[in-house]
Symmetry: C2
Subunit: 217 residues, 2 copies
């Protein structure tokens, strides 16, 4: 069986992306980076998702990024309560670059031919490391970065959601039989989603446009 | 003062590279990745080097790569006793990609304009992630990967040793007044360097060609 490393955050996008990998016939190996985000609920949901998708293994790797200045890692910076113009305070410097690098290492270690991420450039937070050109340049780097790739084998960075809207992603997930009650999108980690942070707002908009009720509501 | 993040491993190359950053007028911020390498002596030497260079801070970040199949991380794989043809078993999948990604995050977090690494493509171990084309492509990725870079500021990946031989690197270090007795090159971590592993052999050749005695001998 061909193998794929699937980056899993606990949210909807990476869940759907990993399910697409399975649909395409891959054995999936989930990878979650515990980057000391304030929101610990994400890790719990990532574990549930990996189990739901029958991931062959689930590597949860700690990388302490508490020194980054971001609302997601620094207790002194507040989570915004509305969608931000420009790059928001929830931006974590080079987060995707670190995540994909580790995924690359994992992919080479287990001889996987693909890396799947839920990166999306439509209903997203304006992060620089979610744009199509970023993915394109990362692929060019990957093409020569490992032993596997210089031996002529390809490791493909797959971003099946790159050009989809949140509602399209949700519909795709429903079509694949995913249980979104085990996901978490809110930047906070209360009993219920806060409903106000940019991530809650994007999620709400997505379910509304898809005409599907959010199981977390 | 302009700032540089300097990746420091405990070896000669990264020491000289960071000293060059200082020479160029940077305030330096050393970064060492403790990737659960079997050789713990490297971390001790990295600390001594950061102190020697009066690094403003020294971030030592743990990223457990013990799941990679490498002679440097896996106790079951032996350190080779001679220089290898092709890519040796000491290769760690995507190690430099992970290290530079973290350096990028750190550089953006402290508003540094440069990242210095000791990467070398002359007297090196044949690793794919030490080649000039790799550095070139990583720079292209960096150019669009962060908030800082999309705001038009540059983060430059500096590799001052890329085209130097080991003896040239050693001579440069001596010229800069560096104390090589606080470095460690051997892949093992005994009392004295083993003298047989590829890294010891490259070091020996370098000092010999430079006509300088190795303080560890």
């Amino acid at each position: 069986m061909k193998k794929a490393v699937c980056l899993i955050s606990g949210g909807i996008d990476s869940f759907v992306s990993a399910a697409i990998a399975k649909e395409k016939g891959y054995d999936i190996y989930c990878l979650t980076i515990d980057y000391s985000q304030k929101n610990r609920k994400e890790i719990i949901c990532a574990k549930k998702i990996a189990k739901f998708l029958k991931s062959k293994k689930h590597l949860i790797l700690k990388i302490d990024l508490s020194w980054t200045k971001s609302a997601l890692t620094d207790k002194r910076i507040k989570i915004p309560q509305s969608i931000h113009h420009g790059i928001p305070p929830t931006y974590v410097p080079a987060r995707n670059t670190i995540f994909i690098s580790v995924a690359l290492s994992y992919a080479e270690s287990i001889d996987a031919e693909s890396i799947f991420t839920g990166i999306n450039s439509v209903d997203f937070s304006g992060y620089p490391d979610c744009r199509p050109e970023y993915i394109k340049r990362f692929q060019k780097l990957i093409d020569i970065a490992t032993k596997k790739t210089i031996e002529g084998k390809k490791i493909k960075l797959e971003t099946p959601l790159l050009y989809l809207s949140k509602s399209q992603i949700i519909k795709k997930g429903i079509e694949l039989g995913l249980d979104f009650s085990i996901t978490w999108s809110c930047y906070k980690s209360g009993e219920k989603p806060c409903g106000k942070c940019p991530s809650c707002r994007l999620r709400e908009k997505g379910f509304k446009e898809a005409g599907i009720p959010d199981p977390l509501q």
